[in-house]
């Protein structure tokens, strides 16, 4: 038991150690002048700025705003992304007609569509949420199709041999078999959504952490800017942790 705990701690310790080493290395590069300190602040300065941005810039509120937007975008991705993926998998004609377009959309810089969304939804959270949703949608759709199409034939044959109806076959076999791939799609979708959410907050100077980063950058408060970016990473970590828990709850075997 102790040996197992130690085994589990080693990768964590190695990861943390690497991060600390990288930060220390960056500090060294800046201190000796190999990296310009007016462009990249020292990690020690960033650490020193944490308290200031938390107290003065109301980080908890901004963090919650960005997290709420990300949560809405994720929920929309789960409902519409997985739903559309299922629909395209089930209706081959639709899939053949649209799959290439969906794949092309995945690599399109959808963030540039923000003026259009501003016109439709106004300078509001809705615009930010919809931009995040649109950015993550192709990944969730494509991975849902991939997961369903990759269901092993023999598992379907087991269902057919037991005379499962089409609906039973889908919910009892196809969907759980596809779940790991669907979750990969959800994670990718969340990454794209969060990038766009913070990006649009930055661009339209509205909302949570993105707006704060914009404000701090305009004030040329680089340590504060980087400290705020750390909170964006924290949102990402939080969502990854939550989806990981959800996946383990739904498919404890993996």
């Amino acid at each position: 038991m102790i040996a197992r705990t130690q085994r589990n701690l080693i990768p964590f310790a190695l990861g943390l150690g690497t991060l600390i080493a990288a930060i220390a290395f960056m500090e060294l590069l800046i201190r000796v002048g190999l990296v310009n300190r007016f462009i990249v602040p020292m990690p020690s300065q960033i650490a020193g700025a944490f308290e200031r941005v938390i107290v003065e810039e109301d980080i908890p509120h901004r963090f919650l705003v960005t997290a709420r937007e990300a949560l809405w975008a994720t929920t929309l991705l789960a409902v519409f992304g997985i739903g559309i993926g299922i629909l395209l998998y089930r209706v081959k004609l639709l899939r053949d007609a649209t799959e290439t377009w969906v794949a092309a959309m995945a690599s399109a810089p959808t963030v540039l569509m923000y003026p259009l969304f501003l016109v439709i939804f106004g300078r509001s959270e809705k615009t930010i949420i919809m931009m995040g949703f649109v950015a993550g949608l192709p990944a969730v759709i494509l991975k849902t199709i991939e997961g369903l199409a990759g269901t092993r034939r023999v598992l379907v044959d087991v269902g057919r041999s037991l005379k499962l109806s089409e609906v039973q076959l889908f919910w009892k076999i196809y969907f759980p078999a596809a779940m790991p791939t669907i979750f990969v799609g959800m994670r990718l979708g969340m990454i794209f959504a969060l990038i766009n959410i913070v990006g649009v907050e930055f661009l339209i100077n509205f909302g949570g952490l993105g707006q704060l980063i914009n404000d701090l950058a305009e004030r040329y408060d680089l340590p504060g800017t980087y400290a705020a970016i750390c909170f964006v990473i924290l949102v990402s970590v939080l969502f990854f942790f939550l989806t990981d828990r959800l996946e383990k709850w739904l498919r404890p075997a993996d």
Partner: protein, 285 residues
Amino acid sequence: MTSATRPDQAPRASPSAPLLVADDIVKKFETPDGVMTAVDGMSFDVAAGEFLAVIGPSGCGKSTLFNIIGGLLGDYEGRVTVAGETVTGPHPSVGMVFQEESAFPWRTVTENVAFPLEIAGMPKAQRIERARHFIDLVGLHGFEKRYPAELSGGMRQRVAIARTLASEPKILLMDEPFGALDEQTRLLLGDKVLQIQDQLKQTCLLITHNITEAVQLADRVLVMSYRPGTLKRMVAIDLPRPRSSEIVSSDKFGHYVAQIWRDLREEASRGMRDDEEHMLGGHKT
């Protein structure tokens, strides 16, 4: 004493009325090279409680036959009946165990085995109790809460067998269920299947390419010819029951294996030649 019949000598087991009857089965497939006859004029029957093994070289149509009897493959000529009822699709009296690993990875052993009962609408407590019975039967007691990924290949196949048995089929149809396992595990699992068959008086039809497995388990062995798959010979296995894998060392066992191999060798050689010619033809083009 061995007994063997030619296909034209009515390969009937029938100490009791046949439970499964395959009557003049013909199955053709459209291929890029034209129509290919996979199975041609296969007729045989299996009596209640009997164990029939179907053996043949690769590509002789064994799995096609498995899918036809299991109701997964339609559009064939001839007729398959189970207890007098024509099979037109998956039949509740036929339980299928597949060659590939088919335990659901997202379900525990108990949940896997209880799956057919869940589909049948049995209350949870009842189906779990029932599933435990079949888990014990295949010797997986203590592994009820494990997931397939935590089990060995042989154990996973036992989960698949227990799941099929849980639906209480009249006929257990198995397509090379131990094909991916090593020889020792295969022999030991053969023992397990024999014990189960003995306990449940289960009618079994085993598709295999392994002669030892066929002789170890079966009352009769149906030898198929290479493409198109036809009934080449039906060999009655007159070895005492209950059997175990220890029987493989007996002279009589060796005699049956040699006899079946003589038939099979000819067919397997034909298959190999055919494959080689096909590959050469492919290279020429």
